[in-house]
Subunit: 351 residues, 2 copies
Amino acid sequence: MGDRVIIALDAMGGDRAPDMVVKGASIALQRFPQVQFIFYGADSRLQPVIGKLPRLAQRATIRHTDDIVTGDAKPSVALRTGRRSSMRLAIDAVAEGEADCVVSAGNTGALMAMAKFALKMLPGIDRPAMASFFPTRRGESVMLDLGANVECDADNLVQFALMGEVFARTVLGLLQPTVGILNVGSEEVKGHEEVRAAAARLRAPGCPIRFHGFIEGDDIAAGTVDVIVTDGFTGNIAVKTAEGTARLYADFLRAAFKHSLTARLGYAFAATALKKLRARLDPRRYNGAVFLGVGGIAVKSHGGTDALGFANAIGVAVDMKVNGFLDKISSGVATLAALQPAVDKPQSAAL
Amino acid sequence: MGDRVIIALDAMGGDRAPDMVVKGASIALQRFPQVQFIFYGADSRLQPVIGKLPRLAQRATIRHTDDIVTGDAKPSVALRTGRRSSMRLAIDAVAEGEADCVVSAGNTGALMAMAKFALKMLPGIDRPAMASFFPTRRGESVMLDLGANVECDADNLVQFALMGEVFARTVLGLLQPTVGILNVGSEEVKGHEEVRAAAARLRAPGCPIRFHGFIEGDDIAAGTVDVIVTDGFTGNIAVKTAEGTARLYADFLRAAFKHSLTARLGYAFAATALKKLRARLDPRRYNGAVFLGVGGIAVKSHGGTDALGFANAIGVAVDMKVNGFLDKISSGVATLAALQPAVDKPQSAAL
């Protein structure tokens, strides 16, 4: 655990950058004293903020660049014209082995495109997936893909299952996470061809993944499985639907407490308990979506997060590095590949 | 509004049938005095319950059958072997013009298969869709398809938009409901081919539908549009994800209130306001998924609902009948068809 971890930070990404990034790094340093940071961004803006934090300053290097990727830039344009941007330089630091991970709160699509281009894909993984974790009745679960791929075939889903399983082991610390595929029913015959073929593969004897089977939308919050696998279209909509519902519920609750004088009084009495509830559901705790499948550790923080949220995104990156995420994926790919001829090829040949 | 409406009831469908069905009909009769009921089910079980409700008994007919569709029956099997079931006979009553609508809390898949077979599809509609409405920040919204079709093409989505729009007008009483297509982003280039093609059609000049454009998952609870159009795979998962999240939130809240003595005291003070909140989110208020697109009014109640929930499902059926749902769909189909040559055919020809 004492091994040095070097984090490349896109200091200019996010609504409150660069201050939020610097303060987030400072918070993360308290939790992970072995971390060193390379900040990519405007020197004139970074120097004064880092200068005020002597402990951080000791562990920080600034690499100046004036160029930034804007929030509304198209991924393809950012990839072509943003070669000297703070985001790209931070990714390149990982590609060149100078840093172990990159963390950015900038433009998601651009970060994805750049990470895929500069870090390449891991051998045996065809497409990257965006993963995140969130609170459930039983604890925390991981879901992927959250929007990197609008359409996915069975191979993609099987690879997502593997990557999600390793992510749950390395970041959530689960020993044998269970994996489910999101579907419209739990029976084997439900859903479209892609989910059925992926499930058949994961059910095959010898498969190293603890496959639960199909799960439904309400199983997400119930925490029925540790890892939820789905295509990027469905995953993106499911996660945003859950966020929207939670927000609506919170708003209705707030309105209910303002409803009368006695209700306000009730709120005053229950305030401590409700604060704990809020902390439990605090989105900053679950900040840090990860691009899995690229040949390096790349974590995306929410653009609107604060320093605490950004520190948690850094924490995800550190956990992945320290617990050997990339190596575990490689060995998982090898196991799945060794398995496939027996399970898969005869079926294909029969068609 | 005084026109007589005849409702065929599958008296044996649902967890607490037939008592729940009879009591639900009795509650609905208070709200809609013009309604008459035909109960399909076991005479020996229906007679005693209806006999105790003289006002209902006056407006009720019992048609005896011993046959029922079980909750776990496969749709294809139910269709083949359930010709004398309470569910099928109730649907046939609509097909034969004896009743105006059918309401059942039984097996969803079987009801769908039987309704499609016995009622046929409306001209111009290729596939049925399951629709429901639910609370949002702004009021209530309709979503479809919730699971009838795992895969949908652009034509299906456009037809769903039309049916959802008419449903919102006839049941929610909205004058000019707005329609959005669920997607992974609001920009025109987002998503897969099917949603982009459907959106292009709905954006065409002269289209009678107030099309908002693409919406995202969090727009559902926000109430950004009145009608949310999506394929049955995504819709089913989105609606169950929202239900699961709301349940998790309610559980966390309950736990928070039990957390300490002061929190319990807080709950006591806020109890009235919280009860109002619960009433606002009461799933019984939003009971009644509808099969749109078939040539008759068929409403599916949740199987686990109580009499109040079932009465609301009957209310949905009455609203659809009284406000001329089927006629409005037909005129909408005609308008869309008149529009299509100008919008659609040249594009197809160019391919």
